[in-house]
Symmetry: C2
Subunit: 386 residues, 2 copies
């Protein structure tokens, strides 16, 4: 056979900074990053901001303007784009098109920056627009929610939805830097503060027993909105995600997606609820379901199973929902399982729990056992509520 | 400063196969690739075909259907999408949307294939659609022109145009395999046969003096459409491109793009002509202009300069065009230079010739000298035509 073999590796690196009040002139973190990174002289920076963040931080845009009037490493594009937060910004290509148009209008080149300030959905959407403009404009992420600071914001994926299907369109494109600013956490709603902790529970369960024990000990403090344990939780969870990406299959060429523990049902329930149920809330319920399944298939003992459910309850999560119920093979959740398989690429790969801190993958879920797990969970939930 | 450092490399590999009559049942190349690659059992393959190819090869779709009715490693999606060839398929997002819709409709997952059969523009567009669907569906390229077999088809870029700006939207996404089938070359028009050779001249000039000498010796045979030298030219040029990508900066994070020798003006002239001038034809003129500039700036001697122009003429190329003329700072070509700089990312980087086979980059072009080069070339062209 006559062929030429091509083979190469593409290196990526970026830092996830932990800071407070990023655009305060006393804070040198961003300016030091730009000094090191901005090697050419006509760099620009364009900001896209989550409308929820803009609303709770009315001085944000003027702070940014003031910051770049003093720090002149890059030229601020004065017009900033405000986009709706949550899945609303991903359910249409309107905002992606707005960003591409801005890239054209303001002459944002491949060595300039597109910075996103917002929750995970906004970062996903802006990251996608940045990735496809000029084949990839440098993307800076400034996550403002617990979920995006400890999970999606520190990773390498971006996306928008298509006909209601989550993340159907997107790419793998690492950011050039992530700035986790605790300042944004203070204004989070009760629900948003809590929702992100589900990803910490997830990653602790599959990878890190000591972190799981820490979460159990600190669950009530976390749910009381204490900042110190929240900061520890975010940093530990981010570290576990970052290590996982670097150590595994960053662009997910295989079928294995261990970090999607609890996610197959979560994706579907989010969609079924019209995204009224938040991602983290759905993940908490997905974790509960797959934990019970792990128990009923004989892997996880009963005490550990109940400990997981109790941790979720202590954190203030619902562990199930009528939409999580599986009555038969045609239940919406079973349809979601097939969609998950398709998105994954043909072969189903689902993470379950061998033990606390030890995930293990399977390539088949038994529908009858899933139905039993859903019933078991519903019953436990009813008892726990009494 | 408090931060987590992320660092990883993503490996890529694929083969560029050289073959004849790919879908002939006697030809085992594709089937052997699929056998090795297709590790799961529900893989599908979806074909997108250049309308020009479909027209010249009316049996192609039935050959493909017959091929996959016998070779069952993957399931053929019987409906194939026929798209216009050339820039027409890149000037709109219609066809990208058609492909995304097909991905949804036919349940094409990340481990299935989207195969493109066509010229460079069709491969660019289909590659882009595949790259953004499910964050990247396996993409097979079957280039049908000289240009796509020796250059763009073997590389890692994809794109569509935006508001007439070439390749404004796109990503870097290596294919899983490329099949260069000489069978498609027989039906190429005179212009298409010739156009692709410009990229061979380009890469020989900047990297490979022996290949340049070979091209000079074989120019007339190539222009007489002899298949043997054409095959050698394609393979050598593809090899040089592949080596360059692997040895350099595959996803072009820096500003350096040595393979774009002669391309800054070519992109603009293509656009100015409404893509009536083909990419390869424009590149030939771009090479001529930058070769003369290399001469007038004191790098390339007169004999070598004239040898390059003679090679282009022997191959049947026009070496200039009224649209290539630079009368003043506001000439369209100068505007194209600024656009190229922007697309590149801020800092201008242009390849010139130190000698035959030795390119060298500069970060500035002198407008007055460019004007002089354009005049010099126009005059040479007039004399050559007498």
């Amino acid at each position: 056979m006559d062929y030429i073999q091509q083979r190469f590796s593409v290196p990526f690196e970026y830092r996830v900074y932990f800071t407070s009040d990023l655009f305060n002139l006393q804070n040198a973190v961003l300016q030091q990053f730009l000094q090191t990174d901005a090697s050419h002289n006509i760099k620009k920076i364009f900001f896209v901001i989550d409308s929820g963040v803009a609303e709770y931080h009315p001085k944000l845009t003027s702070d940014i303007q003031h910051y770049f009037s003093v720090n002149k490493q890059v030229t601020l594009i004065e017009n900033m784009l405000i986009v709706p937060g949550g899945e609303a910004c991903k359910n249409t290509d309107t905002y992606v098109n707005d960003i591409v148009e801005a890239v054209d209008k303001y002459g944002i080149d491949r060595h300039s920056y597109i910075a996103a300030i917002g929750g995970g959905a906004v970062l996903d959407m802006v990251g996608y627009a940045a990735a496809i403009s000029h084949r990839g404009i440098r993307h800076i992420r400034i996550p403002t929610t617990v979920l995006s600071q400890n999970d999606s914001g520190v990773g390498v994926k971006n996306s928008i939805n298509y006909k209601g299907k989550k993340n159907f369109i997107g790419t793998f494109a690492p950011p050039v830097a992530v700035f986790n600013d605790e300042h944004f956490l203070f204004t989070l709603s009760e629900r948003e503060w809590r929702a992100g902790i589900a990803e910490a529970v997830k990653v602790a369960l599959i990878k890190d027993k000591p972190f799981y024990s820490w979460l159990c000990k600190n669950a009530l403090a976390l749910s009381r909105r204490e900042m110190e344990p929240m900061q520890y939780q975010i940093k530990r969870c981010a570290q576990l995600h970052i290590d996982h990406i670097a150590g595994g299959d960053p662009f997910e060429k295989g079928s294995s997606r261990p970090l999607d523990f609890g996610h197959w049902s979560a994706h579907k329930v989010e969609q079924l609820s019209g995204f009224e149920i938040r991602h983290g809330e759905a993940v908490a319920m997905g974790i509960a379901l797959d934990t019970v399944y792990s128990h009923l298939c004989g892997w996880l003992n009963e005490a550990d199973t109940k400990s997981v459910l109790q941790l979720l309850i202590d954190l203030g999560f619902d562990i199930t929902h009528p939409m999580m119920e599986i009555s038969d093979d045609d239940s919406p959740l079973i349809k979601g399982l097939h969609e998950f398989q398709e998105h994954l690429g043909g072969m189903l790969t689902i993470m379950l729990l061998r033990a606390i801190g030890k995930g293990e993958e399977v390539h088949h879920l038994d529908i009858a056992l899933l139905k039993k797990s859903s019933d078991w969970l519903k019953q436990y939930h009813q008892i726990a509520q009494q």
